[in-house]
């Protein structure tokens, strides 16, 4: 009797367990999605997650959002211990590094629908030369020259026609003569390095500074010529003094002189147009043309993306993660919610939706259009990796502060880059 009773109890427990398993076979999946950003991006991304969850009740997205501070460090730690979120936003420059380290899932193997994207844009952004999509560009962006049109018109400066790099000196002089408190360019070390060193070198050689096989494509003389150009930018007062700009880091919108409208143009990115405009909303802005060398091998300037979004290679639910990304990129609903919180969206469909809903920022759009007309290719890879970037930025600072002659800086950069190659190759 007691055996039977025990048996019955055991069996009923087993049956209950069986039922629970069957119920969970309906699969309640939880995915972690992490990104960085500010208020606007957080609110909008959360709204897209809500919309997705409403349409897919069996998938729950656990949002992990923060500011950019500590974001990369956290990802590095998570990769090292295999606890990275299923879906995460990636800084453009880190994309190739992550791909090489094998932390990105091959999105081409999922059901993600790529048909809304321009194939060439996808190839250039997120394939890392592999032929498969390992990361999805979140938008279109590029280097940009944001021009304070009101001031430019007052002084009589036109940056809407093609011009060469020497043109800056002519304009710089004109600006200083017009008003000794004004400068032609507001340039900080980080953005200046991308603008005056990396883009310059792409025009000179048609190649990134360092190829992915650890070939250094730039000679010491070429560096010296470039650094001499930077020295002149500061000596001839085309750019505001480096020591003045230093406290603001890459936050040009916090520079009181920008807010007071004392610069003709800011050296930056298309993605910073919004904040620059908001800092001094009383004047008109346009996106200027970019400088070009006569003897260039390539235009150097290119259009890429402000960030990527990727799927973690160790995710347990790649199909569901791809489903979320499909919703995020390929539905009008998501496009309307997101607007331009990650720059101008990457698909024609989303761009149309933004225009229609009136959430497309005209200046961002204009800046992206300018960057689309150049034929340069992204130098994302070793040239943009953390160590090489800091070597170039140090040189930019040394030269812009006048602490080092262009020749010495060039010699130092070449020797440091060779050390880097020896250490890593």
């Amino acid at each position: 009797m007691s055996f039977k009773r025990t048996m019955a109890a055991v069996l009923s427990v087993a049956m209950l367990a069986g039922m629970t398993i069957a119920a969970s076979a309906q699969e309640q999946v939880t995915l972690r999605f992490s990104w960085w950003g500010g208020d606007e991006r957080h609110e909008k991304t959360l709204a897209v997650i809500d919309a997705f969850e409403a349409a897919n009740p069996n998938i729950k997205i656990e949002p992990e959002y923060s500011s950019f501070d500590g974001y990369k460090e956290k990802k590095t730690t998570e990769f090292a211990s295999q606890t990275a979120p299923d879906i995460f936003q990636i800084e453009t420059g880190s994309g190739p590094e992550y791909y090489k380290n094998g932390v990105l899932y091959n999105i081409s193997e999922t059901d993600f629908d790529f048909s809304n994207f321009d194939p060439y844009f996808l190839e250039m952004n997120g394939q890392f030369g592999s032929g498969s999509q390992y990361a999805l560009p979140t938008g279109m962006a590029g280097s940009a020259l944001i021009v304070n049109k009101t001031l430019a018109d007052e002084i009589g400066i036109d940056l809407t026609q093609p011009y060469d790099w020497e043109y800056f000196f002519e304009l710089g002089k004109k600006v200083r003569e017009y008003d000794p408190e004004c400068y032609l360019l507001s340039a900080n070390t980080q953005y200046g390095t991308a603008f005056f060193i990396r883009a310059w070198m792409r025009q000179v050689n048609g190649l990134p500074i360092m190829s992915d096989d650890y070939t250094l494509n730039v000679t010491e003389e070429q560096f010296a010529e470039c650094f001499d150009y930077i020295r002149r930018l500061y000596e001839e007062e085309v750019c505001a003094p480096a020591s003045y700009k230093a406290p603001y880091g890459d936050q040009d919108q916090e520079d009181p002189n920008w807010i007071a409208g004392k610069y003709v143009a800011d050296v930056g990115y298309t993605s910073s147009t919004n904040v620059l405009k908001a800092a001094n909303p009383d004047v008109d802005y346009i996106a200027g043309q970019m400088p070009l060398r006569e003897d260039r091998k390539s235009d150097g300037w290119f259009n890429d993306c402000p960030q990527f979004i990727g799927i973690y290679v160790n995710t347990e639910h790649p199909a569901e993660a791809a489903k979320f990304l499909d919703f995020f990129y390929n539905t009008e609903e998501a496009a309307a919610i997101l607007g331009t919180c990650r720059s101008v969206p990457p698909t024609a469909m989303a761009q149309e939706v933004c225009e229609r809903e009136g959430v497309m920022d005209a200046l961002s759009r204009e800046a992206v259009d300018v960057s689309l007309q150049y034929n340069g290719e992204s130098d994302g890879g070793l040239t943009t990796c953390a160590e090489v970037t800091s070597i170039l930025e140090d040189a930019y600072e040394n030269v812009s502060y006048g602490a080092m002659s262009p020749e010495d800086a060039a010699a130092e950069v070449v020797s440091l880059l060779n050390d880097f190659i020896d250490m890593n190759k």
């Binding site: 950003g37 500010g38 959360l46 959002y65 923060s66 500011s67 500590g70 090292a80 807010i259």
Partner: protein
């Protein structure tokens, strides 16, 4: 001039200097408070300290936080993280320090050398190994990493500091306690702790401050926004590609420093005591 008058003038001058320096020190806080009433244009465009108008709007808006997580939650999280961590640190560090300072046991010297060497390890080196351990224990995205470190005296700085204090207390005190029949634990609790109080307080205060202000460790161990502490929440809204409404950030920063400022005023005595005395009295 009488000697009394001379002294008075001397004092007046001293006070003027002290007030000036004090004002200089507290100026950033005052500026921050008034900035929570200013628009972005006013913050950047004007050097006047006082805002054009007063409204508590920034405090109300700032408190809303982001995505349904308000500052009520962030402050509660901070309390939940900081208070147990501080308490555990003080208890565990005191016990370990007592052991090192008062007892002879095999391997004491190498163990002490080990303790000292961990004191010299920079945080950056510890992050990944610690993270891996906590992952194996399955306690990520919770406050356990902080509690565990605190509970097992993994803050060598405090242990070392307390050891030094213990060494300053004459052994005769312990011995007379033993003669009167106290065990080792009662000796610690009834005889040594009262003397050690200033040191423990300063360890507690510093641990409170450091944990409360810590950003890096929190961002590494905690993923969910609903578990964020105040220091992490403050950074949520700041991004170079978004227009930051600074007055909201400033308003919340004012509230965030409040606990620390209040704590300092109430525990001033211990801050100074803890640093100045050696624990030896009379």
């Amino acid at each position: 001039m009488t000697r009394k008058k001379k002294k008075q003038i001397h004092e007046i001058i001293m006070y003027i200097i002290l007030i000036l320096v004090g004002f200089l020190m507290i100026f950033p806080l005052i500026w921050m408070f008034f900035a929570s009433f200013k628009s972005n244009e006013e913050i950047y465009g004007s050097i006047s300290l006082l805002p054009q108008s007063f409204s508590w709007e920034a405090f109300v808006n700032g408190w809303q936080g982001i995505g349904g997580n308000t500052y009520t939650r962030f402050f509660a999280n901070s309390a939940l993280l900081v208070l147990p961590t501080t308490l555990l640190t003080v208890v565990s560090s005191t016990l370990v320090a007592y052991g090192f300072a008062r007892f002879e046991f095999r391997g004491k010297k190498p163990a002490f050398a080990l303790l000292l060497s961990t004191l010299m390890l920079p945080n950056a080196i510890l992050v990944i190994p610690r993270y891996s351990i906590f992952r194996s224990l399955g306690v990520l995205d919770s406050y356990m990493p902080f509690y565990l470190l605190a509970a097992f005296a993994c803050y060598p700085f405090f242990t070392y500091m307390l050891i030094q204090f213990f060494r300053g207390i004459p052994r005769e005190l312990d011995e007379s306690a033993y003669i009167d029949g106290c065990g080792t634990f009662r000796t610690l609790v009834h005889i040594l702790l009262p003397i050690l109080k200033p040191a423990m307080f300063s360890a507690g205060l510093f641990q409170f401050l450091w944990t409360y202000n810590d950003y890096f460790n929190s961002i590494i161990y905690i993923n969910s926004v609903k578990k964020f502490t105040v220091s992490m929440a403050l950074r949520l809204t700041m991004d170079s590609e978004t227009v930051v409404i600074w007055k909201n950030v400033m308003a919340m920063s004012c509230l965030a420093v409040l606990p620390v400022v209040v704590l300092f005023f109430f525990c001033q005595k211990y801050f100074v005591d803890g640093i100045a005395t050696t624990g030896l009295k009379g």
